[in-house]
Amino acid sequence: MSQPARFVEKLATGISGFDFIADGGLPLGRATLVTGTAGSAKTVFASQFLADGIRQFDEPGVFVTFEESPEDIRRNLFSLGWDIADWERRGKWVFIDATPQPEEESVVIGAFDLGALLARIEQSVAQVGARRIIFDAFGSVLLRFPDLAMIRQEMLRVVAGLKRLELTAVLTAERMQEYGEVVRHGIEEFVADNVVILRNVLEDEKRRRTLEILKFRGATHQKGEFPFTIVPEAGVVVLPLSAIELKQKSSNLRISSGNSELDRMCGGGFFRDSIILVSGATGTGKTLMTTEFIAGGFEAGERCLLFAFEESREQLFRNALGWGVDFEKMEAEGRLKVMCVYPETAGLEDHLIGMKEVVEEFRPNRMAVDSLSALERVATLRGFREFVISFTSFIKHHEIAGLFTSTTPTLMGGTSATETHISTITDSIILLRYVEMHGEMRRGLTVLKMRGSGHDKEIREFGISADGMNIGKPFRNIYGILSGMPRHLSPSEADRIGSLFNDEV
């Protein structure tokens, strides 16, 4: 008899990020089908369910393998840094080898059941006191017996047996395409009340791995696809990006931008845990502003972190020295860390994890990313948006001031994807623009947005010299700078308009 409205308990898997989107974990004492195309990391996910059970909860597990030999699995998982053989010796992990025995011919004549498999499972479960079990490539069993109806019924019986043994199970099965029918034969679908889909989609020449919980019968979970990546030691790391809660505190504490005139324009400096976006075309002075921001933090006794995605270390250090900032000395003192990374060396998810690790390890008070838009190159638009949201909320959570630069697509300005995605979550926006005046290129700066504070609304001219950025007077008699189409007003016209409004502010 069914018990209506019974609360389905969850078992925390320990898989980073997964328990969050699964609202606690996998349904306890039930089987979950994990499906995906070849190479979608089904085996890693399933193995990790056991590995994290051992590592985090001291829960032993049973690995029933239907396709790969235990020897192959040990070797493959060793590349992630997991010593399965050691867990086996300590009685935490046990293999049941249910792979076809190629050296022996096998024929089916008459009725059969999977009683031997069940007996072996019961024995192994009792042997290590397992609470977790996985069937890797469970779908392949279907191909080994000719009578589909019979094997189907038997698979159901085995899954029912797992329930009787109060095991939480992960069953993997391969599917042929990323979208569409859940699995081949449509069989495993009714074997498991719970279905998780792993995808490995090629989008704009970029690989994007995602995980989706399709259903948890009678239990809640987050909906939609969540990106994940695979990193050594940890294994599968799910990034619950769109599920991030907006719970950041905000601070009224001001910190210096590293440039006293800019501080004044911002009404006394940036807020301590704010996100600042600096937008400008190449060569307008974004890296300079980043350098001053870092130097300002260092002078105030803060720990500073700089991620540079566009320039090499040598180039960056030389430039900084040219503006009177000695990164090398600052690093030697241990309060600055400069990470120069080429965006193309990894996928965005891996960058995200790597950057978070550095932040958690170094614990900076402020950090800068120069430039954020360089990372656009290695991601899809959606992936990039998720990255930005995830990373900015991460540093906000850690109460770190973050300055991000963004390169505009054209020399005269315009909006990049970075700005589209980040502008609403930034607290401050600063624009750097080229201004053409009387046949000469000048540079202009304006504070476009300063959340929670008054700020200078003028567009100020600035110069770059050996002591950095010198912010000068506002541009007069010129308009249309931000649109990239500066127009000049003749002085008489400006005076006339000025006299229409006797407004000094």
Binding site: I96, D97, A98, T99, Q101, E103, E104, E105, S106, V107, V108, I109, G110, A111, F112, D113, L114, G115, A116, L117, L118, A119, R120, E122, Q123, S124, V141, F145, E154
Partner: protein, 99 residues
């Protein structure tokens, strides 16, 4: 020299399917290779480690240990003629069955 046959038959408990398989195997052997066979019946519910060792998945599973190469027949062996053929009970120097 007449070939000796050695079999292991894995069954799961004393179900009717198990009984059928045992009965079918014995009658096959009596009919084709009387006095030239050894059968050991393994109940996987009692000796799961034996199933583990031989990597048995389904029951009943008949393993022909001798003559080599070893081979497996899964199922209750209900189609006796086919089983006899697969197991190689019928060979040129065998006496044809009396029936």
């Amino acid at each position: 020299m007449a070939q000796v046959f050695s079999f292991s038959l894995f069954i799961a408990g004393h179900s009717s399917r198990s009984e059928t398989a045992v009965k079918n195997l014995r009658s096959l052997c009596e009919r084709w290779i009387p006095g030239r066979y050894r059968i050991s019946v393994v109940d996987v519910l009692e000796s799961p480690e034996m199933a583990e060792h031989s990597k048995i998945l389904a029951t009943p599973t008949l393993v022909r240990l001798l003559p080599l190469p070893s081979l497996r027949v899964v199922g209750d062996l209900s189609d006796q003629a086919r089983v006899a053929l697969v197991l190689g009970l019928q060979s040129s120097d065998d006496v044809p069955p009396a029936s």
